[in-house]
């Protein structure tokens, strides 16, 4: 276990020094979350001027809360997928895969980097929301930790699917690292309730943990109620999707070792 911890740290150290040596990468961590917050923050402010005080505050809170929480899932997913892509871009994967590092240790290191990317990406946006729009995400209360945890977990299993696809299709699939979670945004009911979706889309939405998280967020903001049913559903769905993603990743890793894809994955 001690050896595993050291190998996990070794790969995390590789990414940490990469960020230390590259300021554009550091800036990129917070760039999109802060930009999103600026755009949606001013949009919320504009809408608020057209509404009466009470509903305006609630609508603004739902919009900004949605933006910030969805960034957690996005940054979490990109944190894993981009860490894997960094190895691919630097053509270093061969050395990593012939070291004693187990695949699960590599994934754990990427998850660790994902946590750091979420913190360094989302916290500046949370600060911007507080400074410019007097919006305090932490006002959601302790349940916020559970929302965060669920969205991070969702980012992780989506990233495992992305990495599995890159293992299968090579660097040609790398754009999925930026686009895959966006494809789930309409179903995640980030800015509107699931009930506004057509019935068929509602079924898809309720199969995603994110829709339950955002329904839960609206429950807190609109009714000051923690919807434990939605939270339980989110955790259960994350467990199921994580298990499926792990099996797909393990299968693709083995398939890549069979097909020789690990030798030319950069192409």
């Amino acid at each position: 276990m001690k050896h595993s911890a050291r190998r996990i740290w070794g790969l995390m150290y590789r990414h940490l020094v990469l960020y230390r040596n590259s300021w554009p990468r550091l800036v990129e961590l917070a760039y999109w979350p802060v930009l999103q917050m600026l755009i949606w923050g001013f949009t919320a402010t504009f809408i608020a001027t057209r509404m009466s005080a009470g509903p305006a505050v609630t609508a603004g809170a739902m919009l900004l809360g949605g933006v910030l929480l969805w960034e957690v899932a996005l940054r979490s997913q990109m944190g894993v997928a981009v860490s894997f892509l960094e190895e691919l871009w630097s053509r270093n994967l061969g050395h990593v895969f012939v070291s004693p590092m187990r695949p699960w240790e590599m994934v754990t290191a990427m998850l660790g980097m994902s946590v750091l990317r979420v913190l360094f990406g989302v916290l500046p946006a949370v600060l911007v929301a507080w400074l410019l729009y007097a919006y305090n995400l932490f006002a959601l209360g302790p349940v916020l930790v559970l929302f965060f945890a669920n969205l991070m977990l969702m980012g992780w299993w989506v990233a495992l699917f992305v990495v599995a696809l890159i293992l299968r299709h090579g660097a040609g699939a790398e754009s999925l690292a930026w686009t895959m979670l966006f494809a789930l945004t309409p179903f995640s009911a980030v800015f509107y309730p699931v009930s506004v979706l057509p019935k068929a889309m509602q079924a898809i939405a309720y199969a995603l943990p994110s829709a339950h998280v955002f329904e839960g967020m609206r429950g807190v903001l609109l009714h000051d109620t923690v919807r434990w049913d939605h939270l339980a559903a989110a955790f259960a769905l994350n467990g199921v999707w994580m298990a499926i993603a792990t099996l797909v990743f393990a299968g693709q890793f083995r398939a890549a070792r069979m097909s020789g894809a690990l030798l030319n994955i950069g192409e």
Binding site: R6, R7, W9, G10, L18, H95, F97, V98, L262
Partner: protein, 266 residues
């Protein structure tokens, strides 16, 4: 005691047979060359020895560990260097060595990095970004990475490719000295015949996925009646045959070299 034991090793990619049922052993402490033209199966064989590729058939045992079920125990005791597999270019030499020191659980890592830097003339380069180094310097950094865990088995894929003659000679001299001092087993894939002749006690000649001949460099020269291994290589590649009239490209029947030898059949 063998560092590597390979039995009936076969790799198929669909209908393409990349490695065709090869058998060989590499004794502990030997330096064995893997020679063959492009597409002969050298890279595929090395990839299977490293666990990057799962064989279609056959078995590999490295340092007593079966690669099919215990590859991580073997990987901890071996290492690999190739100019075609890079280290992260934006990181400094010291950072790269530190990463791999952690991945291989190297004790007293900073001391080991300094030892390697001194031995490979890298001390002045430790804080330089790897991407800013010359080809020769990068080769030395690659070697330092490959030696960070004091491997008992070193797999080298064209270690002097793209180096000028002076740098290439420096690397070859260093490898000779290192092997003599450490007793490390080396399996070397190369297109540089002079390098193989100088470094290897035995040579496995590969062609279309099969081992078509084997022996010490001198034995091969005698067998083909040639002055250097390049001519032997060309004889085999062009099916010009052995001096005694037997065709090249078939089953190897040469007597294994005495002492530290690679034994192979196909």
């Amino acid at each position: 005691m063998d560092a590597i034991r390979v039995n009936n090793l076969t790799k198929r990619y669909g209908s393409v047979l990349a490695v065709d049922g090869i058998d060989f052993t590499v004794p502990v402490g030997a330096t064995v060359g893997l020679l063959g033209g492009n597409g002969a199966g050298k890279t595929t064989t090395i990839a299977m020895l490293l666990g990057l590729l799962i064989p279609s058939e056959g078995s590999i045992e490295v340092l007593g560990h079966a690669m099919a079920r215990d590859r991580f125990a073997a990987l901890a005791r071996m290492n690999f260097s190739s100019p075609y597999v890079l280290l992260p270019q934006r990181l400094t030499v010291a950072q790269n060595l530190r990463i791999y020191g952690h991945l291989y659980n190297v004790p007293k890592l900073e001391r080991r990095i300094n030892e390697l830097a001194e031995a490979l003339d890298l001390t002045e380069l430790l804080d330089r970004r790897t991407g800013q180094l010359s080809a020769g310097q990068k080769t030395r950094v690659g070697l330092a990475k490959a030696l960070v865990n004091r491997p008992e088995l070193l797999l080298l894929d064209e270690p002097t490719a793209s180096l000028d003659p002076d740098s290439g000679d420096w690397v070859r001299s260093w490898l000779e000295r290192y092997r003599a001092e450490s007793g490390c087993t080396i399996l070397l894939a190369s297109h540089n015949m002079a390098e193989v002749e100088r470094l290897c006690s035995d040579v496995l000649m590969l062609k279309t996925g099969r081992i078509v001949d084997r022996g010490s460099p001198q034995e091969l020269l005698d067998r083909y009646g040639q002055e250097d291994l390049e001519e032997v290589f060309l004889d085999i590649a062009r099916n010009r045959g052995l001096r005694d009239g037997r065709p090249a490209g078939g089953r190897a029947a040469g007597k294994p070299a005495a002492g530290k030898t690679a034994e192979a059949t196909a």
